[in-house]
């Protein structure tokens, strides 16, 4: 019994230590933003990597999510003659939940893994130490631009995903389910509030930070050659995905709990 409790205690202590390391890593990296130099070229490059190159995959998932949502809500609501709510359900679900969450998960898979895979070999081949010997703080040069790019770019991506997702719902609503186009668009706007879109964008900013942080953290501390780098990319994607779902609940609670 005592051995069992000791094992649970050891796991809990390891969890606390890992959380502490992650928080210190994020804090030290963010603290570099308050003193020069800042690297705008690197930030811009990372914004293009995260935003522009994620557009196809985010657009595709958003349009199909909107389409499925319209179909599912129609078949569900038709059981109690509430088909008219389809447009409202689509726009609220996309802007509040599905837009930011699906974009966050897609970007975690595409960008988080790429960040870990890019930074990991730099650790293994001494490039991070080389940065330090060239009077360049590795956290300032490698981590901060990615964190900032994640926070700035994800909301833009989510805004695009929201529009494409709602458009996917519109396509199904009008061309398959036979809604009047004008009525569908009216219903889409009617119950949509600023807070719905803003909460999604706040989620997006937080998810962007999480994806970049987990990619950088696991890449920065990867060990043991190719195997270590592979492990780092897996950890980056899994931990970012789990954290996105946890923080999705936390932010939803903060915005909408009465």
């Amino acid at each position: 019994m005592l051995r069992f409790l000791a094992a649970i205690g050891a796991v809990f202590l390891r969890f606390l230590a890992a959380t502490g390391r992650l928080v210190v890593f994020a804090g030290v990296a963010l603290a570099t933003a308050f003193s020069p130099p800042i690297y705008p070229r690197v930030i811009l490059r990372e914004m293009v990597n995260i935003g522009y190159f994620s557009l196809p995959v985010v657009g595709l998932t958003a349009v199909f999510t909107g389409m499925v949502l319209a179909l599912q809500s129609y078949t569900g609501f038709s059981r109690f003659a509430a088909e008219g709510a389809v447009a409202t359900v689509v726009v609220l679900s996309i802007t509040r939940e599905l837009g930011p969450v699906i974009t966050g998960l897609m970007v975690a898979g595409r960008v988080g893994a790429a960040m870990a895979a890019e930074i990991g070999p730099r650790r293994v081949t001494d490039q991070i130490d080389a940065l330090a010997t060239l009077s360049t703080d590795p956290l300032r040069y490698l981590v901060l631009p990615r964190l900032l790019a994640g926070v700035i770019t994800l909301p833009m991506l989510v805004l695009v995903a929201d529009i494409i997702g709602v458009f996917g719902g519109y396509l199904i609503g009008v061309y398959k389910l036979g809604f009047n186009p004008e009525a569908y668009l009216n219903r889409t706007q009617q119950y949509l509030e600023t807070n719905d879109v803003v909460s999604g964008l706040v989620k997006a900013a937080v998810f962007g930070f999480i994806v970049a942080l987990m990619g950088c953290y696991h890449g920065y501390y990867s060990r043991g050659g190719a195997q270590g780098v592979g492990q780092a990319t897996t950890y980056a994607v899994v931990s970012a995905s789990v954290l996105i779902l946890i923080f999705n609940y936390v932010i939803t609670q903060a915005f909408f709990a009465r």
């Binding site: 001494d126 130490d129 080389a130 330090a132 010997t133 060239l134 360049t136």
Partner: protein, 260 residues
Amino acid sequence: MTRTAVPKISVRRLKKSFGRNRVLDGVDIDCATGESLVIIGGSGTGKSVLVKCILGLLQPEEGSIRIDGAETVGLRRTARERLMQKFGMLFQGSALFDSLRVWENVAFGLIQGRGMERQAAKKIALAKLASVGLGPEIGELRPAELSGGMQKRVALARAIAAEPEILFFDEPTTGLDPIMADVINDLIVKCVREVGTTAVSITHDMASARKIGDRIAMLHGGRIVWEGSATEIDRSGNPYVDQFVNGRAEGPIQMEIRAA
């Protein structure tokens, strides 16, 4: 070689462990201004760890490291960044940034570290590349397009680009053929003499140690077991040094070999 009262680098009672493995166990060593010190020792004896501690890339548990008489252990980030401007380092695997072109690698410390304008930094980078025997056309290539010897030369050009006060060389000739190794040794000697910097090299290549070192120290068991001028190495009278220099399996240094 100019000797001054205050050593350029002074290491005292330095200790560093990884888990239960104590790698450095009270290292004491000095390096005078303008001197070229070579630290020799077997693989895994902590030569790289010692240099990384001096550079501040690793934190020692105990001991003191003074640069120009000022303590550097426990320096804050900004003070450490300023101190780094005194250093240049050639890494064992060259550690070139593979996403940048060769000239950008050489100019990196000037542009990012010191805020120099790109065109001015490029001029300096191309001049440094020329000083290690590489033409301007090489500057436009990526590191992956270069041979191991050329990568070492680029790494050397990068290390000297900002004309640092102290240069560190980590196994500068490892993995190179004997001729290219000698070319690198000659370039190191030329760079150190031309710029007049203090140099600390770590190697287990004795030909390299004899050529680039004014003074040689041997690290074993976490401590410096012998130090003397490069010309004294063959008559050191130290059994560890004798075994290492002559490359004998028998002697006080026992390699950990286990039957499979």
